[in-house]
Assembly symmetry: C2
Homo-oligomer: 703 residues x 2
């Protein structure tokens, strides 16, 4: 059901309206009246005849008309009745401000569910409970106790923290930043971030969507809604609780490393949501993205009237992974002719300490025309001859809207008239060069996502049936850890090359298998109970003849029985010695919110010590898989260095795509590590040397 009546009601009831200033029931009613909501306002309170000059009713039945939106501010134990009453009066949307539900424990959750069930049965949308309400500047609807109606503008905000709603509203007021809508989503019992992303995506007043989230209810719906919204307008998200979660316990490397905040990062990357790391960045990004056009690339030109801050900005551009633009030769020549001799026409363009407004304009006009410049940062310091306000007006007048321009007028007193002119002209202004650059980085990131190539996920031909059989048999028997033998079976069915080998259950069988596949061979214990095989003496390499293989069999069995008493041992796996090549790890860990997360890293110490890995949500395209490789610090190792040949990058990418397909096809696979995955030079096929998987147990239904 649409949220239209939530944002555009023609009548609003306040159930629990109060005459006492400071009480929420008073403040909400007062906000509606004071801020000039043009529709009908119906206060409901059995103990009052009029409130704030409006006729007051003991209940909605007494009023008798139809209500579009009801705001419930009654004590907790009366909330359900108030919701019932609102539904009865034809409400299309209800805001439950009242707290004391899910956040207080199971009993509260139960009460909350009753309200939601009622609403959902009757097709009514519910915001909250335990929220501050909402604001829509378009129709001057302030159904909140978050503060006064802000100036109208293009930024819409939703926040899971009511306190942050008020802080953001207060900040917007201080900066004269216009808002479209502000929504406190509270417990998200019905209306969640997903609904708001979908609604605001199509809201013509909203140019930028800003969200503060502490958790996400349904990962896949979030990704879908955020991606749809980001296709239409920038979505900026601040997600807190990033480090506290810590790493979860998991059997695979991938599972361990995928803990904490990684999945959220992967989800934002997939969906095009620009992630703000700090509260400052949230507003800094929103300001730039709501006021300025998107850059076409990442080359930044700095225009300054002082060398020092120009250098600081250039430092920040490089650190942010953007490029200090190199001016086109024609631009440099033109600037050289029009600026004083002492001016620098490199990057930064230094228009000198005595620059008048015209000199800034000269530089900005040239930069706007220069095809080698994607974005412009203007820095002004207040020097003896500087005229901040006139400069701001002149700069704003020179903009042609072709490229984003942001400004830093440094200082806090003399420059303020200039900063006010910038704000009035819609030119984003930041306190320091570093923050201005950070805002540009947010723009560049979003622009790059918008320009991404179409996502074409390859479907490989595989033997899905075979995998289905293996998995369902294992699930039925409850042996949910898959070791090397079954794991390789599954990967083989999905087109992976695995080393030739077989399971032996006696020394004689081991010798026969070794003779069949050829010497030298490696031998590995196969047991769900032995995790670190090599530490336990469960791996022997380079066995050169049948006798050595037979002896090794006896020895390994002896060792393991002694070191891991009672271990269930399936046998010993005999296989070809690994081919030479670079050892990498590719894996998957299933996130409860966002599904299969693929991981790539170089093997051994790179994973174990340096944790130099990258993640992406499945399914991945080839481009995305290659981007995963490139985003590790050790990527140079793959490309080869100092005369050594590189390895086959696309072959690794193909491996990632295949496990992407496998784990998308089989939600039963919870974790998967191919470690090592041995890759060779370009044109060679990588080999799975070892693999480990774990499966979900059958649910009660499946049993």
């Amino acid at each position: 059901m649409s949220l239209d009546l939530l944002f555009h009601p023609s009548s609003v009831a306040v159930i629990g309206a109060s005459r006492t200033p400071g009480k929420v029931g008073h403040d909400i009613l007062a906000g509606l009246v004071r801020d000039g909501f043009a529709g009908t306002i119906v206060p409901v309170n059995p103990a009052a005849e009029t409130l704030l000059g409006l006729p007051c009713y003991p209940n909605l039945a007494a009023w008798g008309g139809k209500i579009d939106l009801a705001v419930v501010v009654v004590p907790n134990e009366l909330a359900l009745a108030a919701v019932e009453e609102s539904v009865g009066a034809g409400a299309g949307a209800i805001i439950v401000i009242t707290a004391g539900f899910r956040e207080t424990g199971p009993e509260g959750l139960n009460r909350e569910k009753k309200m939601v069930d009622l609403c959902q049965r009757r097709g009514v949308r519910l915001l909250g409970p335990n929220c501050l309400g909402l604001i829509n500047t378009q129709n001057r609807l302030n159904a909140s106790f978050a503060g006064a109606l802000p100036e109208p503008g293009g930024i819409s905000i939703f926040s899971q923290s009511g306190a942050l709603c008020t802080a953001m509203l207060d900040l917007a007021a201080g900066r004269h930043l216009g808002l479209a809508k502000l929504v406190s989503i509270g417990n998200k019992a019905d209306i969640s971030e997903v609904d708001l992303l979908s609604y605001l995506a199509h809201d013509p007043q909203t140019r930028v969507i800003v969200g503060y989230l502490e958790d996400i209810a349904t990962g896949n719906n979030f990704i879908k809604a955020a991606e749809e919204a980001a296709t239409l307008k920038p979505v900026i998200i601040l997600k807190s609780g990033t480090t506290a979660a810590g790493l979860k316990a998991a059997a695979s490397h991938t599972g361990v490393l995928a803990g904490g905040d990684t999945a959220y990062g992967a989800a934002f990357k997939r969906s095009g949501g620009v992630r703000a790391d700090t509260f400052d960045a949230l507003f800094d990004y929103a300001t730039a993205l709501s006021m300025q056009p998107l850059p076409k690339g990442n080359r930044v030109l700095i225009i300054t009237n002082a060398g020092g801050p120009g250098t600081m900005a250039a430092d920040a551009v490089e650190k942010a992974g953007m490029v200090v633009a190199e001016l086109d030769r024609n631009t440099a020549t033109a600037l050289r002719a029009r600026l004083p001799k002492a001016a620098s026409v490199g990057n930064p363009v230094d228009v000198l300490g005595d620059a008048d407004p015209a000199r800034f304009v000269t530089a900005i006009e040239a930069a706007q025309d220069d095809p080698a410049v994607d974005a412009i940062l203007v820095i002004l310091t207040p020097q003896a001859m500087t005229r901040p306000a006139e400069t701001a007006i002149a700069i704003a007048g020179a903009l042609n809207g072709s490229k984003p321009v942001v400004a830093t007028f440094m200082g806090g007193h003399d420059v303020m008239p200039g900063r006010q002119e910038l704000a009035a002209a819609g030119l984003p202004d930041y306190e320091s060069p570093e923050r201005a650059v950070s805002a540009l980085r947010g723009m560049v990131e979003y622009a790059a996502w918008k320009q991404r190539p179409p996502r074409l996920v390859t479907r490989f031909r595989v033997n899905r049936r075979r995998v289905e059989r293996i998995i369902s048999r294992r699930q039925r028997t409850g042996v949910l850890q898959l070791g090397e033998v079954k794991g390789k079976d599954i990967l083989g069915a999905y087109g992976f090359k695995v080393q030739d080998g077989a399971l032996a259950n006696s020394a004689e069988e081991a010798m026969e298998i070794a003779e069949r596949i050829g010497f030298p061979v490696a031998m590995k214990i196969v047991s769900p109970d032995v995790i670190h095989k090599s530490d336990m003496g469960g791996v022997m390499l380079n066995l050169a003849n049948a006798e050595a293989v037979g002896d090794a069999y006896e020895l390994m069995m002896l060792k393991i029985r002694k070191r891991v008493p009672g271990a269930f041992i399936e046998g010993i796996y005999i296989e070809q010695m690994a081919q030479k090549g670079l050892e990498v790890i590719i894996g998957m860990s299933r996130d409860p919110q966002f599904g299969p997360m693929l991981m790539f890293g170089l093997g051994g110490i790179f994973v174990e010590v340096l944790k130099d890995v990258s993640f992406h949500l499945a399914p991945v395209t080839e481009d995305e898989a290659i981007a995963m490789l490139k985003s590790t610090r050790s990527y140079d190792m793959l490309e080869g260095r100092r005369g050594q040949k590189g390895v086959d990058i696309t072959a690794i990418a193909s491996g990632l795509q295949r496990i992407s397909q496998l784990t998308t096809d089989f939600p039963q696979i919870l974790e998967l590590d191919i470690n090592p995955f041995i890759v060779g030079e370009s044109g060679s096929e990588p080999v799975v040397a070892d693999v480990r998987m774990s499966l979900a147990p059958l649910t009660e239904e499946e049993k």
Copy 2:
């Protein structure tokens, strides 16, 4: 000579004073008069009889008295004469505002030198040229055109960028932040950052020293002055141009990696200067350090009236490498008794959205008494019942000065009265939780430096004489690249264990040497012209008998002559095969400013691909050497992982201390790489497997 007369003159002459507002000669005179400097002010201008109500003189001789401080604002070509005139009138200090010197080229530099020579001969200190002058709020001396006299306070600023002086002054005005002194150091022809650090260290008005630098004149003097100052009060430095410099060309790994900004970072670390990475951080740190006591450790307690921002702050604390404090059990019990039931008494302590000032005070008092808390962050969001101003006053009243307290009152309008109260009470207040945490991190860093153990540099017994001989012989012959043979000779003299080996000049000699030291052996070409030996076929390993050694000799010579035609080949080095162990690299690169910079890293890919290395200025103590190991990402590799034994950490540290001593003893050594340095388990002695050094050429004098 002291800077006393610069900051505390009883008479000031303005040579080049002007009647025209907007001219620097006017603005400086006007500043002196307007801001109420209490001493004698003498305007000098041949074309005026009075200026701003003061009698004006054609020259200082005409005035006839003694001048303490002269400010020179005349055109460039008259500056030297003005300086002469000032010296003649007994000036103890001269500020040359006039530009057009060193910054314009060699001719300007020459003019600048003449002024400085004159001053130095006569014992007069010179500030500038090409600067904005200086301000001292203590005696209301505003001898600058940087802006109006700021409010008096404890922060003193020096800046190499005049524009940043004005921006910082303007920012301080906007934030009502008090300053002690502001100095624009311009071209630093005489008075430099070193003089100012020394002076401000002992200036009783200055509580915190803030500096903006683009370069540093004399590295060792800077370190000495900064360390002396930091021992007495915090020194905060913003150094720009950090990334632009790029990597310099160098023959050693250490040399390549030591490029760019590394030496500055090492210098600040050594001297206790807190480095600000951004313009925001510079003021954020200064505010906290000038207003609050130092923390005793890094455990931060967060007190908040809202969950979301509390979580954001906790995230930031962890990301900054500090600790989210765990409240003492008694504190938690006490808080539980005194706060509402719904309040959280963990960390963050959540005093709830309806918190009154008293509730904040309760939490702060408990935190101040809690031995498990080192620093306190108070977060306030403007909610319906929040009283920002009263809360600020109550918080300020509750502080007992035992621990640093910083605040974030989030928002921009309703909270402003509260923020003003905080500022008035000397409680640092930041726009976001993240910036408040960053300020705390600056405090923790400085406090840790102050609490560092005494620096005791070990002197090892070495054969210095032997090294002297090798180096002077090589310098005389001009063969400045030292390879493995001579390098090991030198390291042996400084107590390193080197692999047994000798240089062979024929196949027969090679075989004899190999037989003497025992098989298997390794063979390496020795030639200053062959840099990447193994790529050129100049390394062979694991040769098992004399015949193999002889053959290898012929083959290697053949290959190298073909691949590096014309290479000067000293012979082939025959040595024991390397012992097993972990390969690390230790090295030194001599920075032109700061002298020998020591480097540590794990060998191979860790250095070449991941650039995972750390630096420290020599001489290092054992503690500092161990800290170098710990600050690499791969430190876990040294400690051992998953059942493997770790290596001897102190043995690596000892190696670093020995090259520290070697390169401090011999400034002729420009670069040194011990790569690999093979380290074994605890108690074993590491072995130098290869080494490369380069020496400085003899200077003309030395020849």
